[in-house]
């Protein structure tokens, strides 16, 4: 099996396929119709719908892309989120995460196919069981203070009161382009530096969005604006963690630091938006 970077390298070095040499082909026909249709029905369906190609007979055009977050909110095996204070893990009372949103660290630096389900099912269940136990033994969450509530509503209120600012869709595109160009499958220090600087500008826009539709009923514009701000936080965490990590490991492939460096980097990167 090729690694991610080999595939991208083929394209970057001009050996891609198609008119624009912008993809390569994944040939699966040697597996035969039975195996393909029984073991990879989802892949077959996607290829047919989006690439008009039946993998039983023809190769599938593919490009490497980002489709999963290996990191996430740090959690222990009960789904409890934790943070680090004075080099100690400290759980955040009442905050749980499971699945792709969490980082319970089962995937290492590169998740294997199928394991996102494992993450969801095993730790989703574990979190549920733990919460049930907590609640029935009288544990739970402290109630929120008024200032907590004000803090968490701040973002929403700002949007609801906005009378000018940036539209959501173009800022989202900008964020996507920035992440794709500078923090994609191949990473390099000088590019990422540019990217981090660009993100600073995008932050300014993402924090000042204009919501023209202020209605209450199923307002997807509002949700998309809030989502964009969440995307931004995740993008920035990814960018800064990637830029700081001077090695290659799993899906994090840097061509200026192509080797894995266990002496210095056998560790998690923890991003704290406040500090």
């Amino acid at each position: 099996m090729w690694s991610l970077d080999d595939r991208l390298l083929e394209i970057l070095e001009g050996r891609g396929c198609g008119e624009n040499k912008d993809h390569i082909f994944l040939k699966l026909d040697h597996l035969g119709a039975d195996v393909l249709n029984s073991k990879l029905p989802g892949i077959c369906e996607l290829s047919k719908t989006f690439a008009h190609v039946d993998p039983v007979y023809h190769p599938i055009p593919v490009v490497p892309t980002c489709h999963y977050m290996m990191g996430g909110t740090p959690t222990n095996i009960h789904g409890q989120a934790f943070t680090r204070i004075n080099s100690e893990d400290v759980t955040v009372p009442g905050l749980f995460a499971a699945g792709e949103a969490a980082c319970v660290s089962v995937h290492g630096a590169n998740r294997l196919g199928g394991n996102s389900l494992l993450d969801l099912i095993v730790f989703g269940r574990a979190a549920g069981t733990f919460i049930q136990k907590e609640l029935s033994s009288g544990g739970g969450v402290e109630s929120a203070s008024n200032s907590d509530i004000d803090n968490s509503l701040e973002r929403l209120n700002k949007l609801n009161e906005s009378s000018s600012g940036h539209e959501t869709a173009p800022v989202k595109k900008e964020l996507q382009t920035c992440m794709q160009n500078y923090f994609g499958v191949f990473r390099r220090g000088e590019f990422m530096e540019k990217g981090v600087a660009e993100l600073e500008e995008i932050r300014n826009k993402a924090e000042n969005l204009y919501l023209s539709d202020k209605s209450a009923a199923f307002n997807t514009s509002r949700v998309e604006a809030l989502e964009l701000q969440n995307f931004f936080e995740v993008a920035e965490a990814t960018a800064i963690a990637a830029y700081s990590r001077n090695e290659s490991r799993g899906a994090h492939a840097r061509d200026d630091f192509p080797e894995r460096d266990d002496d210095n980097w056998l560790c998690h990167s923890l991003y704290d938006p406040i500090s």
């Binding site: 539209e167 023209s212 514009s221």
Partner: protein
């Protein structure tokens, strides 16, 4: 130019729903209907629709496209355009919350009724409940359902009795558990379905089969359930009640 008409309704502003006309340059490439909606939303941010995965997996964007229910994200414009015209409406038969967004409560209530989870109270083995490849194959054509509601909202029987007829989606799932060798509640599952409405409102109209974007066949699953009911111990009370009670119930309405 594309001539696009979209069902619009915002309960805070509109007394009645209306069709809003949009015109945009026909895209060079053959795009999906969902891409088209995103293009429109860039200039009219008030347009509301559900979507998530954009690859036919999550079931969020079921809608009625030029008269046929389907998922916007895997329906190519070239498949549905009538000339240059495309009309997009919410899934029929369910209350509209806003624009293309329907209230799915009735649909989910029916789904909940069939107890869509494995029931087996024997002690779980150390690792997992195994199933032979042959038994697992019995679930093919059933487990793939993504609960998009394209089938149930295309079914006239579901339009008339959304509160009592389980509908094709729910029944496909009911059969998914009836066919599962690991499930031990076959009898009680069949008992729950053995009334004149839950299954027997299906008259084989087959709209569900035509509508399903995943190529599934709820009508066939319903046939299997009917056979199981007839063979099972609950058969008597259905045959007796189906015609007569249903007639009476309808008259009372």
């Amino acid at each position: 130019m594309l001539n696009i008409n979209i069902y619009r309704y915002n309960p805070e502003e509109d007394k009645f729903p209306y069709m809003k006309n949009y015109e945009i340059e026909k895209p060079q490439k053959d795009i999906m209907v969902l891409d088209l909606l995103h293009l429109l939303k860039e200039s009219d941010s008030s347009l509301s629709f559900r979507r998530s995965c954009r690859e036919g997996v999550c079931g969020s964007d079921g809608m009625n496209i030029n008269g046929k229910n389907g998922l916007a994200c895997i329906t190519a414009l070239s498949e549905v355009l009538k000339g240059d015209r495309i009309d997009i409406r919410p899934l029929p038969g369910l209350p509209v919350i806003r624009d293309l967004v329907v209230d799915m409560t009735q649909f989910y209530n029916q789904y909940e009724k069939i107890k869509p989870f494995l029931q087996n109270d024997t002690t779980a083995p150390e690792q997992e409940r195994l199933q032979s490849p042959e038994d697992r194959a019995k679930l093919d054509g059933l487990y793939e359902c993504i609960l998009c509601a394209c089938c149930s909202t295309a079914c006239p029987s579901f339009w008339w009795n959304p509160d009592r007829f389980i509908g094709p989606a729910g029944l496909l799932q009911a059969y998914r558990f009836l066919a599962d060798t690991r499930d031990l509640e076959k009898d009680s599952r069949l008992d729950d379905l053995a009334d004149p409405f839950s299954v027997y409102r299906c008259h084989g109209i087959m709209n569900c089969v035509a509508a399903c974007p995943k190529g599934l066949n709820p009508n066939k699953a319903i046939g299997e359930i009917k056979t199981m009911l007839l063979k099972g111990k609950n058969s008597k009370n259905i045959i007796a009640s189906d015609g007569v009670t249903a007639l009476k119930e309808n008259l009372r309405k």
